[in-house]
Symmetry: C2
Subunit: 451 residues, 2 copies
Amino acid sequence: MARSTSLSGFTEWLPAERLVELHVLDTLCEVFERHGFSSLESRAVETLSTLLQKGEVDKEIYAVSRLQDELSDDAAPKKDGQLALRFDNTVPFARYVVENAGHLNFPFRRYQIQKVWRGERPQEGRYREFTQADIDVIGEGTLPFRSDVEIAVVIAQALDTLPIGEFRLRINNRKLAQGFYTALGLEDTVAVLRSIDKLEKIGPEQVAAELQETAGATPEQAQKALSLAQIRTEDTSFVAQVRQLAEGLGGDTSLLEEGLAELEELIGEVGKRVPGRAVADLSIARGLDYYTGTVYETVLVGHESLGSICSGGRYESLASKGKRTFPGVGISIGVTRLVARMLSAGMATPTRSVPTAVYVALRTEEDWGAAQDVADQLRSRGINVEVALKAEKFGKQIRHADRRGIPFVWFTDENGNHEVKDIRSGDQITADPTTWSPGAEDLLPRIVESV
Amino acid sequence: MARSTSLSGFTEWLPAERLVELHVLDTLCEVFERHGFSSLESRAVETLSTLLQKGEVDKEIYAVSRLQDELSDDAAPKKDGQLALRFDNTVPFARYVVENAGHLNFPFRRYQIQKVWRGERPQEGRYREFTQADIDVIGEGTLPFRSDVEIAVVIAQALDTLPIGEFRLRINNRKLAQGFYTALGLEDTVAVLRSIDKLEKIGPEQVAAELQETAGATPEQAQKALSLAQIRTEDTSFVAQVRQLAEGLGGDTSLLEEGLAELEELIGEVGKRVPGRAVADLSIARGLDYYTGTVYETVLVGHESLGSICSGGRYESLASKGKRTFPGVGISIGVTRLVARMLSAGMATPTRSVPTAVYVALRTEEDWGAAQDVADQLRSRGINVEVALKAEKFGKQIRHADRRGIPFVWFTDENGNHEVKDIRSGDQITADPTTWSPGAEDLLPRIVESV
């Protein structure tokens, strides 16, 4: 991690680091499939009009054009047909669902693990290219609220299987927040959400000032909005706190009640199925996104400054085709941000840096074919093997295997007798290529949790 | 495959199609790791100067720029720092090796499976975005020729494990070809290679004419060059044929002999280790690439019009850092092209279109938690399970599972008795969630070869 990258904001792993990332990805795929999510990928490019349809101007979009066209005269940006790189996996998925609706069965569940690109100012925890791992459930016409519960449960179970220590899903509901603001008499709920979203960054006093400036709040209204945002409970006791706060508000509280009921069900069910992982946190706003109900963020305990490692929510109207609508709910793990922290904080280490378990040494140049025969015998039993490329002195071949992190070196003498050496212990034993195996611990590189 | 795509040249699979692609990718990863190749990924963007360093102007490059910059005034293309999408995995890997040389041990072996982009005119078998699966071995200073043999063996073994029928690796050696042309008195060997590369497309007569026009060949020289290109043998008998053809050529034949010796070793060894998969084909040129010795192409027998599904070669000087050079050899499978043909020709079919094996039906809305408990018991034993989102009539729930392609539906009655129904046969049996399993055939979707 001390390496500098040649393009800032673009991370490339070394082989051992990539093994940690692969472990994370493999684990996620397995948990997602265990819950019936299908793997999908979307193309890297979207039309600019698709990307901008929800007014996502805060994402720094990368435009894409054929170099040939750019060097020619008609290089004028053609806004609608202009291609650009996706900045998340949700907007492309919504477009995919609309295009392929006739070939899918709803409710449809998919996972999607792909790179996304944002032309942001690079800083710690921010990347210009990074991998996101998304799960979404999307319905046709309606999608039961139960899916919001399920998404939280699946992602908590997935994160639980990773060597990342404690984490907390912080969950809120936009209906609750917006219903409260409306009942409070604040009409511009988007402006309120935007200010509340800055609570952790700028603190309550500045948020109160901003609410009065940009959302037209009185000092009392600002205070009430702030009080709501400061509610945080690990169980459903937030419901009573909100009701108390909302007492005597004159306006229509039906949206507030709807949001309260949803969040109560979610926190209750998730608390039962994955205890201690979720918290109702009424400060979560996700200001500028396309969410309409539940919103999720996730912090790594002890690494709160990293920001959310996993975010998402319910979107009622991202995808539609004529009169057909496809409401969905989903969440996305910021894999690159998470893996970078796992590496820099030393949370997980691979037992070796290469897939290879056995390095077959060469006695003479003529032995390469026989050495490959030995290697193939081992490979046929699931052992990863490479053969030396040159018949250098054994000491040199052993040093090369050692530097590459390969645990075993295989020798065959002129009479066809085989021996295998564990270069860590120095132990060397006679061995039969049709039966010998490294122990289960050494068969594949494993990722071990560091404490 | 009958679907039209909304952006031509950009393919997106449906869930069942993606399962076929995943099977191909998983199989390739396994074979590559079995031979000690490490997984790596590079960033999607390179500087234009990196991409153009080998004069690869025939690749239609996609330029990338921040939309914000493009909409501002200083949108003038800054050629050197200009970012662009990679068009293959080899050039980025060479750049990666140079940047990270201090962290790698040579000879270094890696596989890399990623999307690449080319702004080509879309046509059958050509894509603007497609997945390539590359393996390369890269040395420092020198890399034994043996690696060229190994690459051919590994890729032949990898393709052998895929449900794609017969294929042929067509292998040539640039030293052989260039040595022959030079001995023949043709100085502009690049122009000759470029013409020979068109042999299959435009036929021998037109190639002969072009050789005289662009490479300054006499009719006799053109004929000799064509005769060389028409040599094709499954064993090493090409050596005698080339020697006969080269008899009496006045020039220096040392490069020719070097190429002959290399190709003879390669065809001999590959013929021994994976019989019937490789052929010496002296028409293979790969005209405009960075290859300096061995060149590989691969055709699917019966699908020759598809073009090469797997190509590569030896590159002596793609990567260097001061006085250090990193010669390499590698090959790349065109995964998208291959999978598209597997699907359109019906070579492989998934046994079902979703990962889910069991659909747990809901008797009442209140049963969702209990149904998830049953699902978790099954999941803990490696079974992929989803739970119904609504307590609709059982018939409707069964139809939904059936449409999604899920083989089993699970029912729990009001007394907690469990039954599981195979919806294909209609058989329904009592079952215990802590012990019941689908058969091995139904545990996961499998890809079956269609004959």
